[in-house]
């Protein structure tokens, strides 16, 4: 989970990294926090959304006076933002950060992330801050310094001093840079983060300042990082109702833009099933992995998530019952159907453990909009045909 900018900066401040002074605006009432002459150097008004590319989409405004800052913040609050990184989806701006403007001498890039090639955390540094790091890596790979961080010994200062020289940081600012980079590494390690990115890291007359920051939590470490868990739980509230329900159940759910709702056991099989649907010309509405050993409660909840999704034209269930029992799937389906009735056709491919029992359970229930197959190809064709037909009807009504 990626935190919002203001949450990320609060963590950085806790570890001694300088960030611009700011006020957080969550509603019209908060606008009074932007007092006249609050930040004499000027104001940066920033939409707090968990997606990149704000600057290019009107999510960041530079203004001179408190009055202008208020107006910009008021206009942003509650409005929708679509950026080139938000995958075509509009994100509602729930809060706005109004920060003091800094005079910038130079913009650098600093990030700490897991280098999967080496299997260890790495600090990335570049003299070219303020732009997308993939761009830097592509255009100018030698401009990107990589410093491995040892899980026990951390990052030695001399490595940072060497880097400061390569980055052409002016001599008088080297100590300041080393202390900031060490603090960032300490934050990453102590709080077990998944990602920490300061971009741009600005060299200003007052010292190095984290002008923007993005922190990702490492979800597998939440069990022993109680402070992270608190932030995580708080942020769950901003998810959609279906995603929230999935998190509470402990099943993996990612909403997508298509019309066929999917329920599959296993992440790899779930992804491959989505790909298969796309290969037949239709689009999946979601990724939903109930896992290899889902219990009845999780299964029923997962069906309820799909049955309450109003966007769907059809539901596709693909279960390879190696360990998971197909009869439990059938029972969960019926239980969910009682609570939130299935409104669209459902096609299930059930294979393996207790598949005959599952068929009996479903045929006794006499639901007329359910088809069950053993063969995956036949099942996918069936569900895609339904979805395509429905599209056609929808079209002719227009």
């Amino acid at each position: 989970m990626n935190l919002l900018e203001h949450q990320s900066k609060a963590l950085l401040r806790d570890f001694g990294v300088m960030t611009p002074r700011s006020v957080l605006i969550k509603n019209a009432h908060d606008l009074s926090k932007i007092k006249a002459h609050l930040f004499p150097s000027g104001y940066v008004v920033k939409a707090q959304v968990a997606t990149g590319g704000r600057g290019k989409s009107g999510g960041v405004k530079l203004v001179d006076t408190a009055q202008e800052a208020k107006e910009a913040a008021r206009a942003m609050l509650g409005s929708k933002l679509t950026t080139y990184q938000s995958g075509g989806n509009a994100v509602t701006i729930e809060s706005v950060l109004v920060a003091e403007k800094f005079d910038i001498d130079h913009e650098y890039y600093l990030a700490i992330l897991l280098n999967r090639r080496q299997g260890q955390p790495t600090m990335l540094l570049s003299r070219f801050g303020g732009m997308d790091i993939e761009e830097v890596a592509q255009k100018n790979p030698q401009a990107l310094l990589e410093l491995p961080i040892d899980p026990w010994r951390g990052l030695p200062s001399f490595k940072l001093r060497q880097s400061a020289i390569s980055l052409e940081i002016p001599g008088s600012w080297i100590e300041n840079f080393i202390s900031l980079a060490s603090q960032a590494a300490a934050l990453y390690q102590t709080r077990e983060l998944g990602l920490l990115e300061i971009n741009p890291l600005a060299q200003t007359p007052q010292g190095f300042v984290a002008l923007d920051a993005k922190i990702g939590l490492e979800e597998n470490a939440l069990f022993r990082q109680s402070a992270n868990k608190k932030i995580y739980d708080k942020n769950l509230n901003s998810l959609g109702p279906l995603e929230k329900k999935a998190r509470a159940l402990g099943v993996s759910y990612v909403p997508m833009s298509g019309q066929i709702g999917c329920l599959v056991n296993g992440a790899g099989l779930a992804m491959a099933t989505m790909d298969l649907i796309a290969g037949h010309g239709q689009q999946p509405a979601n990724f939903l992995d109930v896992g290899g050993g889902a219990n009845p409660e999780q299964l029923q909840g997962a069906f309820e998530i799909l049955f309450s999704d109003k966007r769907l034209k059809a539901v596709f269930v693909n279960i390879f019952g190696g360990i998971l029992r197909c009869d439990l799937i059938a029972q969960a389906l019926l239980a969910a159907n009682k609570k939130s009735p299935l409104a669209v056709p459902l096609v299930a491919r059930l294979l393996g453990n207790r598949v005959e029992e599952a068929r009996h359970i479903l045929s006794r229930a006499k639901l007329n909009n359910i088809e069950i197959f053993n063969d995956l190809t036949t099942a996918v064709r069936a569900v895609c045909r339904i979805s395509a037909q429905d599209n056609h009807h929808g079209h002719s009504r227009q």
């Binding site: 999967r116 299997g119 026990w152 077990e192 599959v264 992804m271 491959a272 298969l276 290969g279």
Partner: protein, 309 residues
């Protein structure tokens, strides 16, 4: 022959008495897997499923040895200790089924493993299956008969689907290896491809990958340049429809840039000469339809690969 384990492999289970460990060990024992000991704090002196339990791995080795492999079902918060203990005892094969282990714990485990002659498979994996011989983990044991196709995968049920299709095509499997869906894992595709290249029973390999990380491309390059395409390699990469920046079930299945997308991986693998299976339902047909003549017996690379271990 198979890779990593066979019906003679003597197995220790760490976490034998837990729900998952107990459930799956019972199935494995029925199949003939030689589970000779269990280890875990507070369990010493007891028996479970007819298997003696010991307080520590060291004690198990001393009193129930020799032990060839340790299989770990210990819950995530305690898994680092269990792995460190197994590594310290020098057991040469460690298979970790546990899901949800903190990344920093695996970073440390990788450091502990450096330069040691130990193969650690997983975590967050279904383990190993040698059909008809042994089962270290949770792969359904009846899914496929023994045969000449090797399977290596980052996934669980997708692997069972593949094995099932291979069986339906009239073929069988030499060994199924699930290397795990986490971003930091003990053993990568390359090492398993090396082992399959050396295994006389294996005549072709299926590699099942997914979005996230650089492993598939590295493996394909290795197979092309170092193994000289010694045995036919088939591959399926899951996640072509996955959105960027979203974790798809597995901790490691997240597309962060453009190079770790399923499309890019499939393109790179094709360029290295890997036979891509584009559609989940085509696995059996693709491998079953491969002409037998295209399966050369390869002995030349054997010695050299053993050195690289």
């Amino acid at each position: 022959m198979a890779i990593l384990a066979n019906n003679q492999t003597r197995v220790l289970v760490q976490g034998l008495t837990g729900k998952t460990g107990s459930f799956h060990s019972e199935i494995s024992l029925k199949m003939g897997t030689k589970i000779v000991a269990g280890a875990g704090p507070g369990k010493g002196g007891q028996m479970h499923l007819g298997v003696p339990l010991f307080e520590t791995v060291e004690e198990a080795l001393r009193r129930a040895g020799p032990i060839d492999a340790s299989l770990i079902y210990v819950p995530a918060p305690f898994a680092y200790e269990a792995m460190a203990e197994a590594i310290d005892s020098g057991i040469s094969l460690i298979v970790v089924i546990t899901e949800g282990i903190a990344i920093m714990d695996m970073v440390k485990v990788k450091k502990l493993l450096a330069d040691k002659p130990i193969t650690l498979i997983g975590p967050n994996c279904p383990g190993l299956l040698v059909p008809g011989e042994t089962r270290l983990g949770i792969i359904p044991e009846t899914i496929t008969p023994a045969g000449k196709i090797g399977i290596v995968s980052r996934s669980g049920t997708l692997t069972y689907e593949a094995a099932h299709q291979i069986a339906m095509a009239g073929l069988g499997v030499s060994t199924v290896v699930g290397i795990g869906g986490d971003p930091v894992i003990g053993t990568d595709f390359i090492r398993i491809l090396d082992l399959f290249a050396q295994d006389p029973q294996t005549e072709a390999v299926l590699l099942i990958g997914e979005i996230g990380g650089p492993m598939e491309e590295q493996a394909a390059r290795h197979w092309n340049e170092k193994l000289k395409k010694s045995k036919p390699l088939f591959s399926l990469i899951a996640g072509k429809t996955a959105p960027k920046g979203k974790r798809m079930g597995h901790a490691g299945a997240i597309m962060e840039g453009t190079k770790d997308s399923a499309q890019h991986k499939a393109e790179m693998l094709s360029q290295y000469g890997v036979s891509m299976v584009s559609d989940l339902t085509d696995i059996g047909a693709a491998i079953g339809g491969a002409p037998a003549a295209a399966v050369p017996q390869l002995k030349i690379t054997l010695a050299r690969n053993r050195m690289t271990r």
